[in-house]
Symmetry: C2
Subunit: 201 residues, 2 copies
């Protein structure tokens, strides 16, 4: 195996092992030795790729920060009404967080503030995007009269954060919780036409 490819695989093994350990045990309670054991990588090989556990955590944060713009871009380009985009996008974000341990650990660490520097852009601004989509949904008559689109956007964003943090520690997972939030809130929020269109799809 060419040396460059082997180095890439080693780095990936470290990243996945770290994500699994941080996700299961927590960042603080995970010693470097547990990451080495899980990845089957020597200390020397580890330090070839990362200067410290902290540097590894920052790599996870950067990795998730690179993933989200594509997910968001894909949804925004779909020929769907803005409310359907908001619903579908957050449901997919929750599904990805649940399925992909590297993404999940990185998203959690972005909130964790491992280091004060270099982390300001580590979280995508879901709330602003949702505010924009819900405002457009309101203008297009997709919400019931009197419903505050900004309140709905904030509730949906807090639901995603809450569903990620609670995760699989109890009851349904992140994706089922996000879908449940939409089911519970849309009933009193979306226009009857939008709801019946959704049911008939």
């Amino acid at each position: 195996m060419p040396q460059q490819r082997r180095a890439r695989l080693t780095r990936q093994a470290i990243v996945v092992a770290a994500a699994e350990e941080f996700d299961r045990t927590g960042y603080d309670a995970t010693p470097l030795s547990a990451i080495l054991r899980r990845s089957g990588v020597t200390k020397g090989a580890f330090y070839f790729h990362f200067a410290s556990k902290e540097a590894l955590a920052l790599a996870l944060v950067e990795s998730q920060a690179r993933r989200w713009p594509r997910v968001r871009g894909d949804w925004l380009r779909r020929e769907l009404d803005p409310l359907s985009i908001a619903v579908g996008m957050l449901n997919e974000a929750a599904r990805l967080i649940e399925q992909d341990v590297v993404l999940r650990a990185g998203t959690g660490l972005a909130r964790h503030r491992i280091a004060t520097a270099g982390c300001s852009d580590s979280e995508p601004d879901w709330e602003s995007l949702l505010l924009d989509l819900l405002r457009r949904a309101s203008e297009g008559g997709l919400l019931r009269p009197g419903v505050d689109p900004e309140a709905v956007a904030r509730v949906a964003y807090a639901a995603l954060v809450g569903a990620r943090v609670i995760g699989s520690t109890r009851g349904p997972g992140t994706a089922a919780r996000m879908e449940e939030t939409w089911r519970v809130t849309l009933q009193g929020v979306a226009s009857p036409e939008w709801l019946s269109n959704r049911r008939s799809r």
Copy 2:
């Protein structure tokens, strides 16, 4: 000042300073020196009270764990219907988290898993309590027909967790976010009678 009282005040100064630093900067990024500087306590005095930064964090977790049962007990003893108890209790929890930095930092650290040991009972089981209250609300006809009380309980709990994590980093604070979640969801969830009783109170 008697020695015992002085020791208590020193301990309290350390706890408050640590809560403020952890809340502002994050647990990992806060060095012990920042806590000493903020509290005006010497290293020697610090180590008289706490063995390490980790021991101090665990004290914050234990302190919040002692607060919640009283808050919950007070609400459960009120002569209110179960839906009003659920709403009032979570709104008060959000308000306390927003107002009290020691409670807020401790509640955040309980999720943070500083250490793997001794933290299993560090979070009150809000979701089970909410499931019970919402089931009783459903049996008492306080929810609209067809509404799943367990889904509402899970959404409310995730909203509290999300509102705490987002906190004051952007837009409205934890308390306003929790109230907003109830406002948005109750409209499609609570019975028209319950809603009109609430408005007339």
